[in-house]
């Protein structure tokens, strides 16, 4: 098994996540795509940790998971708040900062 196959798979997952972040209108789905990107990063961290025979890779993937959990919690709370105020969870309607 080569390192490249895992890393490229991670890259593919990450790119799919990028696509999702850019293309989705529903804020919940955007957050979901962000989770995909995080998972891609996790796979890469573990793969490179194995490659360099270093435990830090797995430790940091655990940190990423913890931060991702926090991010989902806060993100969904914000989405909920926006939905409550504007009766919509669509990101493209949130353009108060535009010209």
């Amino acid at each position: 098994m080569t390192i490249a196959q895992f890393a490229i798979l991670g890259g593919l997952l990450f790119s799919v996540g990028v696509y999702g972040v850019l293309v989705r209108r529903n804020a919940v789905l955007v957050l979901l795509s962000v989770e995909l990107m995080m998972t891609a990063v996790n796979i890469n961290l573990v793969a490179f940790g194995r490659f360099y025979d270093n435990i830090s890779g797995q430790i940091f993937s655990l940190f990423v998971i913890a931060v991702a959990a926090a991010e989902v919690g806060i993100g969904l709370a914000i989405v909920l708040l926006i939905f409550r105020n504007r009766s919509s969870a669509n990101v493209d309607e949130l353009d108060l900062l535009r010209w």
């Binding site: 850019l22 293309v23 990101v91 493209d92 900062l97 535009r98 010209w99």
Partner: protein
């Protein structure tokens, strides 16, 4: 020596005895009594926490809880003191909190002669002032905050006193500083009071820089924060400590100078009188300000072995402080400020005694001073309570209205003035005698300090006579509509108790006859190697007492006047103009400090001002030039041409902005897309650069 130390430290051993250097005192470990000494330290903190949380729901803001805890400290301290008197105790209890590298961070309680003496003093004075404050602070706007801070102070002071390692002492040191800050600024609505709190804090911080460095160097050399290890290494002549002994000793002393208000750090203490009077009595007279002296006492084996060259400096600083502060006390009108300067002056005595190598004499003066000075402050508070003014020019004739306050205050004043057979007489005499002793045993310059001490004794007697006569004799000059009355019993009983202390405290160390105090203090690890005369020094005794009596007599002739007006008395006592100005302005030391502060600010401000002037000139010059030129251009050039080009530029900018503003769509995902593209470009750039 090492055996003694290890044995005395071992918590479990029931009776650890060993030969003390020199006088062969047997030290016991004190049993359960010493092992549970931590209760004294912890309880006030518990009270502070409880009052903070539930004080508002407790009657009187939790006042009686606070009084109860310090009462416990007094009782426990007294029991410890008596059992220490019977069998000297030296015991240390250590708990490891954390280990950082080679250093153990510990919390320890040391129970030995020195700390037991301080436990008792803190407990006694705290109980008196707390009880007094129950009545004094009644109806105060922030009573809960007061009691919480006051309890915090009691706990912090006990942490400091019971510290088994130098780091813990630093913690206690800063905690008492915090409590002091909170309580000085208790009435923070007035700018002056909060500034005083800030001043006390800042001055102390400057000095604390010295202390912190002085704490770290020996710890790094010895590899431990424990007093036991540091003092042990010093006594054994650790080469590192021998090499840096002078620097360490000096740095620690700088810290002590800050807390004990020694010249030139004395400026904060008089301003600290902005706090409530019980606070002044407990913290700024009896206990907190003596922390510096206590530090010197705790480290005395260190000073006596490796930092012996620092001691003359210590002695001289003490000498200078006692004189200048004593002189300042003469011109004050605010009764609390008289006492504050007097405190600074008396602290000078203690420090000078320490510097002369007289460990016992310095701490004995601390012991007696705590009683009579807190008595004086509480008496002053009682007076202030009655006349609603701090100024002696609003008082007068009060002995008729408040007899108990009068006679207790009188005893305190006489004790402070060194009136024979009262507390101050014995301790002051011992300080002077030890200075005289030092002058013939290796420190010739101590003679000068001794003479300064005698002069100061005269000055002390004089200003105390002034204070007493202005306050209690003559005519009442305050608000005639409001007749002063004696304070409630809750305030007078502590006064009476302290008055008893001010009389008897001195008898605990009558040289050559009855010296339990000396035995208490020498009952500790590493005999401090005290220098003092074994019996009365008749020469100094007579001189010192005479100075005091003459001071009282002169004060009497100037200020005692039943029925005489204030103006008449003022006319009789008038200092020469320049000296008076100098004293009223506190030798301009505060102004000097402001000068230093401004010295940093002023050049900057000046440079900015100069630059401003330059710009001003340039602007107005350009303006004049422009108006001339403008007229010429307006008339000379075709107006329309320029107009058109200006309009074109303006319009162009507007249109460009109008076009570019569409970038700001407000759509997060477009921004994200741009972000990703940017990262991509960076990555591509990175590949190109690295592949080359």
């Amino acid at each position: 020596m090492v055996n003694l130390a290890t044995l005395a430290l071992s918590a479990g051993s029931l009776l650890a005895t060993a030969e003390e250097e020199g006088h062969g005192v047997e030290l016991s470990d004190g049993g359960l009594l010493a092992q549970y000494a931590w209760l004294m330290v912890v309880l006030p903190f518990v009270a502070a926490l409880f009052i903070t949380l539930y004080g508002k729901r407790t009657p009187r803001g939790g006042a009686w809880i606070a009084v109860g805890t310090v009462g416990f400290v007094l009782v426990y301290g007294l029991v410890l003191l008596i059992s220490h008197w019977a069998t000297p105790i030296a015991h240390t209890e250590n708990i490891n909190i954390a280990t950082i590298g080679q250093f153990d961070i510990e919390w320890g309680v040391v129970v030995d002669g020195l700390s037991i003496m301080m436990f008792f003093v803190v407990g006694a004075i705290a109980t008196a002032s707390f009880t007094y404050a129950v009545s004094y602070m009644e109806g105060d706007i922030r009573e809960t905050a007061f009691w919480a801070s006051f309890s915090l102070f009691a706990g912090a002071m006990l942490v400091l006193v019971s510290a088994a390692n130098i780091l813990q002492m630093l913690v206690g040191w800063e905690l008492v500083g915090l409590a002091s800050y909170l309580l000085i600024g208790h009435y923070w609505e007035e700018k002056e009071n909060s500034s005083a709190a800030m001043k006390a804090f800042l001055v102390n911080k400057v000095a604390d820089v010295g202390l912190i460095i002085g704490v770290l160097i020996p710890a790094l050399i010895v590899g431990s924060f424990r007093f036991h290890d540091i003092l042990g290494a010093a006594v054994e002549g650790n080469p590192g400590l021998v090499k840096y002994g002078f620097v360490i000793g000096l740095l620690l002393f700088i810290g002590a100078m800050g807390k004990s208000a020694q010249f030139p750090f004395h400026v904060w203490l008089p301003d600290a009188m902005a706090g409530p009077t019980p606070v002044s009595a407990l913290m700024h007279a009896a206990t907190m300000v003596t922390a510096g002296v206590y530090l010197l006492g705790r480290m005395f084996p260190f000073y006596n072995s490796v930092a012996i060259d620092v001691l003359p400096i210590v002695m001289w600083i003490g000498g200078i402080t006692m004189l200048i502060a004593g002189l300042l006390a003469i011109v004050q009108d605010d009764i609390k400020r008289v006492l504050a300067y007097s405190t600074v002056s008396q602290l000078g005595y203690m420090v000078a005694a320490m510097g002369a190598g007289a460990y016992t004499a310095g701490l004995f003066h601390l012991f007696t001073h705590a009683f009579f000075k807190s008595l004086l402050f509480l008496g002053a508070g009682s007076v202030i309570h009655a006349v609603h003014s701090n100024n002696m020019s609003d008082m007068g004739g009060l002995r008729k209205y408040m007899p108990t306050t009068f006679w207790t205050f009188g005893i305190g004043s006489l004790a402070l003035a060194g009136f024979p057979l009262l507390a101050g007489f014995f301790s002051k005499d011992e300080v002077l005698a030890s200075l005289n002793y030092a002058s013939s045993h290796g420190t010739p310059s101590a003679t000068f300090v001794m003479w300064i001490g005698i002069v100061t004794a005269f000055i002390t007697a004089f200003y105390m006579a002034r204070a007493v006569f202005l306050t209690f004799f003559g005519e009442y000059k305050g608000d005639p509509a409001h007749e002063p009355h004696e304070s409630p019993r809750l305030m007078t009983v502590p006064l009476q108790a302290l008055a008893v202390g001010a009389i008897v405290a001195g008898y605990f160390n009558v040289p050559g006859i009855f010296t339990p105090f000396t035995d208490w203090l020498s009952g500790r690890e590493f005999a401090p190697g005290d220098h003092h005369a074994e019996s009365f020094d008749i020469f100094v005794l007579v001189l010192g007492s005479l100075a005091g009596l003459i001071g009282i007599a002169i004060g009497y002739s100037f200020f005692f006047a039943d029925g005489e007006s204030q103006e008449a008395r003022d006319r009789r006592f008038r200092l020469p103009g320049p000296i008076h100005t100098l004293l009223v302005n506190k030798y301009y030391i505060d102004d000097f400090y402001m000068l230093i502060v401004n010295f940093i600010k002023r050049p900057l401000a000046n440079a900015a001002n100069w630059l401003n002037g330059l710009i001003d000139a340039a602007v107005s010059g350009t303006g004049i030039l422009m108006s001339v030129l403008g007229k010429f251009v307006y008339e000379g050039l075709d107006q329309r041409g320029i107009d058109a080009s200006i309009n074109a530029i303006g319009g162009g900018t507007g249109e460009a902005g109008g076009a570019l503003r569409y970038i700001q769509t407000g759509k997060v995902q477009q921004y994200a897309a741009v972000l990703f593209i940017g990262v991509l470009l960076l990555a591509v750039g990175f590949f190109i650069v690295t592949s080359r």
